[in-house]
């Protein structure tokens, strides 16, 4: 099996990438190129490996570890292969990007970062492929720990360490629930091998327990509201190419886990499973995008937008589960393909955006959008790529984001056919409306992100002195931008991969997911022929442009004069421009109940009230779940701990007293008085 050899070689390369930094640590340049080239090779092999699996079918590999749990191995089936493809594509792009981006870190522990970067890729590959409970949990925790160190890499800033701490604790909690779910299954199946878990004999209640544990466990990693609080802290703290990987791929490990459980291990469940996932999904999407919109730290903004996209993915999965439990295999197939399509898309455009943000960060050393501006002239290519990413995230045609969003809409449209009655109809209508709201907010959010960052005049010195990113970084971004366009114009290619991924899964039928025509996106759901054709839409848009050109040039050539905007007689400067904070003001006002933005104050920097005033506008946001959920819990725990500590009061008499009491109590209990 070629795929098997490719797999082993890939693991070897990543491991070499980890080890190499120890030998090259003397020379930063060398470290950079060796480590990231190995990562690049590994990622390419991941792509090849996935392709071979798709061509030749499932492969099994035995891993070289020796633990008292029997043989531990990997098995790459189509689902794994799909995610392997994702990590390959994104990993390759980020690795190329890393060549240029690492120059920032030549004096900031580059060897550590490069080594961890390889380890991160390695662990994620293992998470996607291993087929043994213990191996999965080990890989999962290693992935979390490695990313934790990457988040903490710039520990000179206290906030990063704080973020890393919150991240590791949250993800550890999640892991515990995952472990519980796995162990319940493994005990039922009396084996820890994934192939056996499917037939696990567990009672109905236990299955529900397992489902809830899975949802909590993987939901924590995916950033599902209200377990998302670590995400907007951790992702901005990491180096940008790592943030790209974290958002693009690491979150998808959670989605992978959910698919494993819901499609493979648990089988078809009751309807409320899917409904619960749907509700959580829409909440996640709406909350995420709202917070993204009011954010003006560009990387935090992207992180929150990841939360939103996870919500959209969850919508697909939830709908799929509902369809499965209602014996609607075709619709279930459509739903899951919508979810997985969005998984792939989000991997592409979110990594792209993070890389763009990284390029901006490297050029200007600020993440605050309100400090930027005018970069489209300074860094034209980055601007184009970031624009592509933004349009894709905003789910606008003709890019890939629109396709998956469209599929999700279709899925939700068919929901009333299984959730009969008024409630079902209203429920799905509300879901669609809220998803529409989410889409519109995303558009607004990224209009701000791009507009304020790249357009108008620079709002600060560092923005004014920005220079274009090095070519390697541009190549990295370019790859993903190209893929965004391709997957937008030619969805059939992706859909055929998805139909391979989802084939021979019980309760799912993806025949006719791929339409008859290469250009038409017309999933035959047997309910309607509601199909669209991206090519046709492109043609229409082009013809529209043609008409516009015609009208434009119908009266000969246009004379263009350059003149400053009229600002009542003074030369317009960057202080007159709109900021992201101002842009989101009206939304903040309307959604006050969710976005507790408070003391929006104007601060006068220098006391003189008459002339030369310098004004700052501060906005603080009280995050709903943090203030309502996490802070109280934290406080109570600490209080209880302080109280409990009284038992170690320091008096030896008391200590001996404990022994006496225990003795007497146990004596009495055992003798059964």
């Amino acid at each position: 099996m070629i795929a098997g050899y490719l797999y082993d070689l890939m693991l070897l390369l990543f491991s070499m990438g980890v080890v190499s930094v120890f030998f090259t640590s003397s020379n930063a340049k060398l470290t950079n190129y060796v480590a990231h080239s190995l990562a690049l090779l590994g990622s390419t092999l991941a792509i090849l490996c996935a392709i071979f699996v798709f061509m030749q079918g499932k492969v099994d590999i035995v891993l070289p570890v020796m633990l008292p749990f029997g043989p531990i191995g990997s098995s790459i089936d189509f689902l794994s292969a799909f995610f392997l493809l994702i990590i390959g594509v994104v990993g390759a792009a980020t690795s190329i990007y890393a060549y240029g981006y690492s120059q920032e870190y030549y004096h900031r522990r580059l060897p550590l970062m490069a080594g961890l970067y390889n380890a991160f890729l390695l662990s994620m590959v293992l998470v996607f492929t291993v087929s043994h409970v213990v191996a999965f949990i080990i890989a999962w925790e290693v992935m979390s720990t490695v990313s934790f160190f990457l988040v903490n890499h710039e520990y000179e800033k206290k906030v990063n360490t704080r973020a890393a701490y919150i991240y590791i604790v949250m993800t550890h909690l999640g892991t515990i629930f995952i472990t519980i779910a796995f162990l319940l299954l493994a005990v039922g199946a009396n084996s820890m091998d994934f192939s056996q878990l499917k037939g696990s004999l567990v009672s109905e209640n236990l299955r529900n327990v397992i489902f809830v544990c899975t949802l909590i466990g993987f939901g924590t990693k995916a950033g599902m509201v209200p377990l998302h609080i670590w995400l907007p802290r951790a992702h901005p703290a990491a180096p940008s190419h790592v943030s790209a990987l974290m958002s693009g791929v690491m979150l998808k490990t959670a989605i992978y886990g959910m698919c494993r459980f819901f499609l493979d291990f648990l089988g078809i469940g009751p309807v409320w499973w899917g409904t619960l996932v749907l509700v959580l999904g829409i909440i996640t999407a709406a909350i995420g995008v709202l917070y993204a919109f009011i954010e003006h730290d560009i990387k935090r903004l992207l992180a929150y937008s990841s939360v939103e996209n996870i919500g959209i993915i969850l919508l697909g999965i939830g709908a799929g589960m509902v369809f499965m439990s209602k014996q609607q295999p075709v619709l279930a197939g459509l739903a899951f393909s919508a979810a997985l399509y969005h998984v792939f898309n989000h991997a592409l455009f979110k990594s792209l955006s993070f890389m763009g943000a990284g390029a901006v960060l490297q050029a200007t050393h600020t993440k605050d959008v309100d400090q930027l501006g005018g970069l489209i002239k300074k860094m034209p290519y980055t601007a184009v790529f970031f624009l592509v990413g933004s349009v894709a995230i905003a789910a606008l045609p003709p890019l890939n984001g629109f396709i998956s969003e469209w599929l999700t809409f279709q899925v939700l449209l068919f929901l009333p056919q299984v959730l009969v009655g008024i409630t079902g109809k209203v429920f799905s209508a509300l879901l669609i409306a809220l998803l529409g709201l989410t889409g519109a907010l995303a558009a607004a959010c990224f209009a701000t992100a791009f507009g304020i960052t790249f357009l108008a005049k620079p709002r600060s010195e560092q923005a004014n002195e920005a220079v274009e990113a090095p070519p390697t970084m541009l190549v990295g971004m370019g790859m993903l931008a190209g893929l965004c366009i391709v997957l937008g114009l030619w969805p059939i290619g992706m859909l055929s991969i998805l139909s391979m991924t989802l084939q021979n899964i019980a309760g799912i039928d993806i025949q006719g997911l791929v339409g008859h025509d290469w250009y038409a996106l017309a999933p035959a759901t047997g309910h309607s022929d509601g199909g669209i054709s991206m090519v046709a839409i492109i043609l229409l848009l082009l013809s529209g442009c043609a008409v516009a050109m015609l009208l434009y040039s119908i009266f000969g050539k246009e004379k263009v004069a350059v003149g400053e905007t009229w600002t009542c007689g003074i030369v317009p400067n960057s202080h007159m421009e709109y900021t992201a904070t101002g842009f989101s003001k009206s939304i903040r006002t309307v959604f006050k109940s969710i976005v507790h933005s408070y003391n929006e104050t104007v601060v006068n920097a220098n006391g003189n009230p008459y002339h030369g005033q310098k004004l700052f506008y501060h906005v603080r946001v009280r995050y709903l779940f943090v203030s309502a959920l996490y802070i109280p819990i934290n406080k109570t725990i600490i209080k209880v701990a302080h109280f409990m500590k009284k038992i170690q009061a320091g008096s030896v008499q008391v200590y001996v007293g404990y022994i006496m009491v225990v003795t007497v109590v146990i004596l009495i209990w055992s003798t059964g008085w």
Partner: protein, 208 residues
């Protein structure tokens, strides 16, 4: 034999009433002597040599050497008495009585119709009272004596129900008791030397 156990109990009760350290040490001495007598009694029953040896050891170490050491320490401590025990004298003897009742009850409950019920009960009672002393007394020396009482009680069990241990274990136990008390006494004197009072209830620096 039974008379001895009763007397042992009596001495133990007496110990709970002692507030002067010297008297307490003397009581311990008496107690150990009685233990030795009990030993010989058992020896006469079974006629095994090792038990006589044990008796002799008891007299030498527990009735002879340890009280001597303790007295020395007490002498070095100037007018340190158990003035304000955590549980005052009469209450603690009350609790001691309760302990005796409790232990009898326990033995009846746990080992109904055991051969040497009194001895067992006495032993358990002595152990509990020893604990009680450690808990309710502030003076390091008093706590040491509480421990010796416990040990005596346990030894009594071995004696009464199992007719004494094999010699090697016997020796080991004796050795350990000896060393334990020595260690504690050294620590006490160190406490004294390093200017801290031997009132152990103020040793509360390490907590949390």
């Amino acid at each position: 034999m039974n008379i001895l156990t009763i007397l042992l109990l009596f001495t133990t009760l007496l110990l709970t009433r002692a507030s002067e350290l010297k008297t307490a040490v003397r009581i311990i001495r008496v107690q150990s002597l009685m233990l030795a007598m009990a030993c010989t009694a058992v020896g006469m029953e079974t006629g095994e040599v090792q038990i006589y040896v044990a008796a002799v050891l008891t007299i030498i170490i527990k009735a002879g050497f340890l009280p001597y050491v303790l007295l020395n320490i007490v002498n070095t401590l100037k007018h340190e008495r158990e003035d304000h025990p955590i549980l005052n004298i009469s209450y603690s003897s009350l609790v001691a009585c309760i302990a005796i009742v409790l232990s009898y009850g326990l033995i009846d409950q746990a080992l109904p119709g055991a051969g040497s019920r009194d001895a067992l009960a006495t032993a358990v009672a002595m152990t509990l009272i020893g604990l009680l002393l450690i808990i309710t007394r502030r003076q390091a020396v008093m706590q040491i004596m509480g421990m010796i009482t416990m040990e005596n009680g346990i030894y009594l069990v071995g004696l009464s129900v199992a007719k004494g241990f094999p010699l090697i274990i016997e020796l080991g136990v004796f050795f350990d008791v000896l060393v334990a008390v020595m260690v504690l006494s050294i620590l006490t004197s160190r406490l004294k030397l390093s200017g801290i009072s031997t009132d152990t209830s103020i040793l509360k620096k390490l907590k949390g």
